[in-house]
């Protein structure tokens, strides 16, 4: 899932400075799951902004909406009938959703209400961690299902580096050494023979380094 964190309220208020009636748009997708952009957050942020603005003597009108997904054109279109009535749209969907809105709704400024994070998982309620960088060339079958690109701070293919101590990465004591995890898993799976099979240099062209990517599947169009 795509994760994110709320933007500091001051930053949002600054963005909203020129406007006095806006749409606050949530998304029922990933940001609902990671509890940063769903219906409830729309309500909380809307209340917060109204309070802040009214206290500062400049009331703001906020239309609270939640789209099914801001990354699909049909859902985005649902906003079309009324979007012209507002000066701006504050979206608390992920960066993809916000951009998609901005692309489709060209006449109204689009503002981000959250900082988009990463492709991650829920460790427990309220804690998410990164798992995938979308490099476009998956090697998990060789690494015990643990991604060296994402889980190693240096994206090494032959870790761990000398900075791995007691399973902890040198970068942060809260980060587990990805390669320690890989090796532990390979040992457990009796697949240590996979260690070292990653000699070919990784092709980053399938990752973001190849420029903005697109996926076209002819059979699905």
């Amino acid at each position: 899932m795509i994760t994110g964190t709320p933007k500091p309220i001051d930053e949002v208020l600054e963005m909203l400075e020129p406007y006095d009636n806006i749409i606050l748009a949530g998304c029922h997708g990933c940001v609902t799951v990671c509890r940063v952009g769903g219906e409830k957050e729309v309500q909380v942020l809307a209340s917060t902004l109204r309070l802040a603005r009214e206290a500062s003597g400049k009331k703001i009108e906020i239309r609270e909406v939640s789209l099914e997904r801001q990354c699909d054109p049909e859902y985005v279109e649902q906003m079309r009938p009324y979007v012209e009535d507002y000066q701006a749209v504050l979206s608390i969907a992920c960066g993809a959703g916000i951009q998609f809105l901005a692309e489709k709704i060209t006449t109204t400024p689009l503002l981000p209400g959250i900082n988009t994070g990463f492709l991650g998982v829920t460790e427990r309620q309220g804690e998410w961690t990164e798992r995938c960088q979308g490099c476009g060339d998956c090697v998990l079958h060789l690494t015990g299902g643990i991604c060296p690109v994402t889980r190693c701070a240096k994206s090494l293919f032959h870790g761990p580096c000398g900075g791995s101590v007691r399973g902890i990465c040198e970068v942060d004591k809260e980060i587990k050494c990805g390669w320690q995890l890989i090796i532990d898993r390979l040992v457990a799976l009796d697949q240590m023979e996979n260690y070292g099979k990653l000699k070919p240099y990784k092709g980053w062209n399938s990752a973001r380094d190849g420029g903005p990517r697109r996926i076209i599947r002819e059979d699905m169009i």
């Binding site: 240096k154 090494l156 032959h158 870790g159 000398g162 900075g163 101590v165 240099y201």
Partner: protein, 308 residues
């Protein structure tokens, strides 16, 4: 001879090699390098020049190598994959070779978080293992990784680094073997204080027959003070300094701790010399190059042999 470097020759002749390291300055002043070179000269078979060690910005390694080479010392260029992608790495390898650098140490590099630009974007396009492999391919097959032919192959004595004390311990020897297979000719270890564990490591390496195929140069760093010992133990990931080592230096009065540190370094070298499979000593006297002579000499490794 793969590279024809002095280090390679010394080792090939069966001598116990001595290497040291020289950190380039945080500035453009070449005299600092030259001054350090003066302490090194005549005491080592080759001298490492670090590459933005601990991600702190310094003069480039290649420039440092050129400066010490001018002073008559054989340079050993360190190259990290943190800051350069494979294009830059190839280009720099060619450049270094062209300038007469014959010894290479392939490293991942410390994470930028520890340096002065933690917000920097890292590269890690390929890892150190792949750098070894790429260099070997360029040297021995004369081709770029892309397959194109080189117009003059870079002749490097290829080295790598290992930390026998990092976790998981079980992977350390297999990983060295991988590096050897990837093309490493020699390896320089992290500084060794825990002799017991290092011996254990060497036994495993011997079992794999590694010392026959790759020259193992044991790392030694003299401790300047008990404070430094404690700092390194606490702050440097993968640094294993046993309590008794810290205690030994800490038991000395402050003013005598430096001397004690040197005494202990000499003892360590003596002990390392006796370990089967150790082919050389790599003395990392960090910002303490002036003591190299005392240490290396004290260990009975001077003068350095001359091999033709």
């Amino acid at each position: 001879m793969k590279s024809g470097s002095n280090l390679e020759k010394v080792l090939a002749a069966g001598h116990l090699s001595v290497t040291a390291e020289c950190g380039p300055p945080r500035g453009a002043n070449p005299d600092i390098v030259r001054k350090k070179a003066a302490f090194v000269k005549g005491h080592v078979d080759a001298c490492n020049v670090t590459d933005n060690q601990t991600a702190v910005v310094r003069m480039s390694s290649l420039a440092g190598c050129m400066l010490i080479k001018e002073e008559g010392i054989e340079p050993l260029i360190q190259m990290v994959v943190r800051d350069r992608n494979r294009i830059a790495l190839q280009s720099d390898l060619l450049g270094a070779a062209a300038m007469g650098v014959r010894n290479l140490l392939c490293l991942s590099g410390d994470h930028q978080k520890f340096g002065d630009d933690p917000q920097a974007k890292n590269v890690f396009d390929i890892d150190s293992m792949q750098l070894i492999h790429m260099t070997k391919m360029m040297r021995d097959e004369g081709v770029f990784p892309s397959g194109d032919k080189l117009d003059g192959a870079p002749k490097f004595f290829i080295g790598c680094a290992v930390n026998p004390f990092a976790d998981p311990f079980e992977i350390r020897v297999p990983r060295l073997k991988l590096k050897m297979e990837a093309g490493a000719d020699f390896v320089q270890t992290q500084c060794i204080y825990n002799m017991t564990k290092f011996k254990e490591y060497m036994e495993l390496a011997l079992k794999e027959g590694l010392p026959e195929k790759i020259k193992i140069l044991a790392g030694v760093t003299p401790l300047k003070s008990a404070g430094m010992a404690k700092f390194m133990r606490r702050m440097v990931a993968g640094m294993d300094i046993p309590d008794e080592v810290v205690k030994r230096i800490a038991d000395e009065p402050k003013e005598k701790q430096a001397a004690k540190g040197i005494e202990m370094a000499i003892e360590q070298i003596q002990e390392l010399k006796e370990i089967e499979g150790v082919s050389g000593i790599h003395v990392m006297a960090i910002e303490w190059e002036e003591k190299l002579e005392e240490i290396i000499g004290g260990a009975g490794l001077l003068p350095r042999p001359v091999v033709e």
